[in-house]
Symmetry: C2
Subunit: 400 residues, 2 copies
């Protein structure tokens, strides 16, 4: 059958691998072997099963295992059937010459697989981790990518606008999550919230209320959630949503592979005044971050500044989690993965660049009571952070 | 807050790590470092962020990064805060003595991480891949595990029974998928369909119709599906479901972490007689496999036998995919992961064992027309394969 799905523009892909080749050149690598599905998609336009070799100069080649026909239609780089793996070393050598220094995605490639490729495909080559520079390149988004993110942002905005009709006192967290998931799915959400970090998983985000939202868990984020089982201990659970509790609606939508990330706060009736006050602080932190987030500013400085504001408000102990389970960051890049660069945390003194996309999510955790917070996804511009997410930032009020 | 989620029974966990220790003993390993979330959950009862050390004899220890409190409640093995990673080698040495041979999950652990652990935690130890024996142990399910699978099976049965009211001519595949997902979610489906293989992903399964179902893709399975975007090229897509097309409803539900896998075929109106005939063949293959699948029988023999039956029916070219995109297997283990052992494919001459759980999925692909097939999840017993999935095996007829 004829595949009518939209493709990534050829020029977009060409720009990406040309830029990646500049990195290979700077690192004095002869080429890079790309195997992870997300990086493959980013550099070729297809997510079919294969191995991509990007030489320092000249045209890359995608060796495809399955499906060759589909890869040929989708890929903007030349596709060859992979054939027998034992013949691949010679085919790579014939096409690209002798490889003495090769880059691989050593942060995600399983040990056994990386070792196999290193020994079989490049037995004489020195191995280098190419992940960080590739992730740094991916952090800066093109207009094409920003447009996908804006589409996703419109869908999560619609969800927020529908919350007053969706939320009913006594409904379970999972009921609210299931309804949000259904609506996003019909917009094209792929229901895969991809993360690069080992063992990290996400479904939808975190739709949780009161004490359940404040329950800590393994996830590298400010809020936990009970989840439905200890075998998936995060996000929406079985808890009933009650009047007066903070309801955290931290949701993602994934359109054409691109993940938007947005948090809004809802309540049935009224919040306690101290929680309402805390929400005001998260909005002030967000505004301050928007103004400060210009090209050249260090990633960590945004976190340090936000932490200072939390301290001044007397809420340092509650910032981004509570006690020993505090997360020590303010935000993270989003794009094809949820945990992209930049990381807004101590130890990252790299500068923001124009076109980087960041989810900024100041939150306060009150054990036994709930999580208060807000989150927008932004693009870095010369004037500061410009929001891609556009839902109203007021607390969503639901009638009791 | 008090976590009211059910826990894995202590005796269950103890049996598991004791049996794993027998493997360590047989392999002459001093211990194993377990890092992957699924294996961690299997051996401890918690999925919090940590590293588990299982010594050849004596009690294991789970070193937890986050959340320690939650891990202490959930884990059936002793929990210690991980503390500083640089102090961990000494703590491990003090507790477990000198480690000269250590096992790790080298099939899933990222290269950088495995190398870090090997160099920092066990600088003098020889590294061994522990994955296959651990996966082989996990392939045999306990009564506790079978009960989770039976719960999940009841939910996918309910979906099949509701299909006649859910399917409408002209609805999009994704609309049907979204409705199935919503219903399963409310039963406790975690919406994570975990796979061990690198780059393999799944959402729900495959709800696809006609030519779209027959479109090949990267996924290591018999059917592809268009998907919603080239950035997630599989499963349900935008195609409208039409009268007379085979509608493949290959769905999973994940309850307490355990994945059931079931395929049924639906049609609005009538199928072409040759497709109806092909469906009859898949049912005959399924029955033959049920009888043949007894302890001691080799994994591959079930595939070889099924392929022979497909050949005899003149459908070898269509079996488990078409042409260059044929998958060369008949089924796979399921449990905490979708791609567990055993693998029913050539090259696997290991014997079936009582208690192994297998999804058997004979399917025929007709390019441009659709995929015909059926799938049950079974437990291996002395009498052959006993079905865990119990939905009627008749074609689901929907009024035009």
């Amino acid at each position: 059958m004829d595949n009518q799905l939209p493709l990534v523009p050829v020029e977009e892909i060409e720009r990406r691998y040309r830029r990646f080749q500049q990195t290979l050149d700077r690192m004095e690598l002869d080429g890079a072997l790309i195997a992870q599905n997300i990086d493959l998609y980013y550099l070729t336009g297809t997510m079919q099963n294969g191995l991509l070799f990007v030489p320092r100069t000249g045209e890359p080649c995608l060796y495809v295992k399955k499906s060759v026909a589909r890869a040929k239609r989708e890929s903007s780089v030349p596709v060859e059937p992979m054939g027998r793996i034992r013949e691949l070393p010679q085919r790579i050598a014939e096409r690209f010459g002798s490889i003495r220094r090769v880059g691989m995605e050593l942060d995600v490639l399983p040990y056994a697989q990386a070792t196999f490729y290193a020994n079989k495909l490049f037995p004489k080559a020195e191995l280098t981790d190419i992940s960080f520079p590739l992730r740094l390149q991916r952090a800066v988004k093109s207009d094409y990518e920003l447009n996908q993110l804006k589409r996703a942002a419109a869908y999560v905005r619609e969800i927020v606008e529908a919350l007053p009709e969706m939320i009913k006192p006594g409904m379970r967290e999972v009921e609210l999550a299931a309804e949000i998931e259904r609506r996003l799915r019909l917009k094209g959400n792929i229901n895969l919230y991809r993360m690069r970090a080992f063992n990290q998983e996400l479904v939808l985000g975190m739709v949780a209320s009161g004490a359940a939202a404040a329950a800590p868990t393994y996830f590298d984020g400010p809020a936990g959630g009970m989840g439905l089982t200890v075998a998936s201990p995060q996000g929406a659970g079985w808890k009933e949503i009650r009047v007066g509790e903070p309801i955290l609606v931290d949701i993602s939508a994934v359109i054409e592979g691109y993940i938007i990330d947005q948090t809004r706060l809802a309540v049935i009736g009224e919040l306690d005044t101290d929680l309402e006050h805390a929400y005001g602080i998260t909005r002030r932190i967000l505004k301050a971050t928007e103004e400060k987030g210009k090209p050249g500013v260090s990633w960590e400085s945004l976190y340090v500044n936000a932490l200072k504001m939390a301290e001044e408000a007397g809420l340092a102990d509650h910032f981004m989690g509570y006690g020993e389970d505090q997360a020590k960051f303010l935000g993270h890049g989003v794009g094809l993965e949820l945990d992209e660069l930049p990381v807004l945390a101590r130890g990252f003194d790299q500068p923001l660049e124009e076109g980087m996309v960041i989810a900024v999510e100041p939150k306060f955790t009150f054990p036994g009571r709930g999580v208060i917070g807000i989150e927008n996804t932004y693009v870095v511009t010369a004037d500061g952070l410009q929001p891609l997410t556009t839902a109203s930032e007021e607390i969503v009020r639901v009638r009791a």
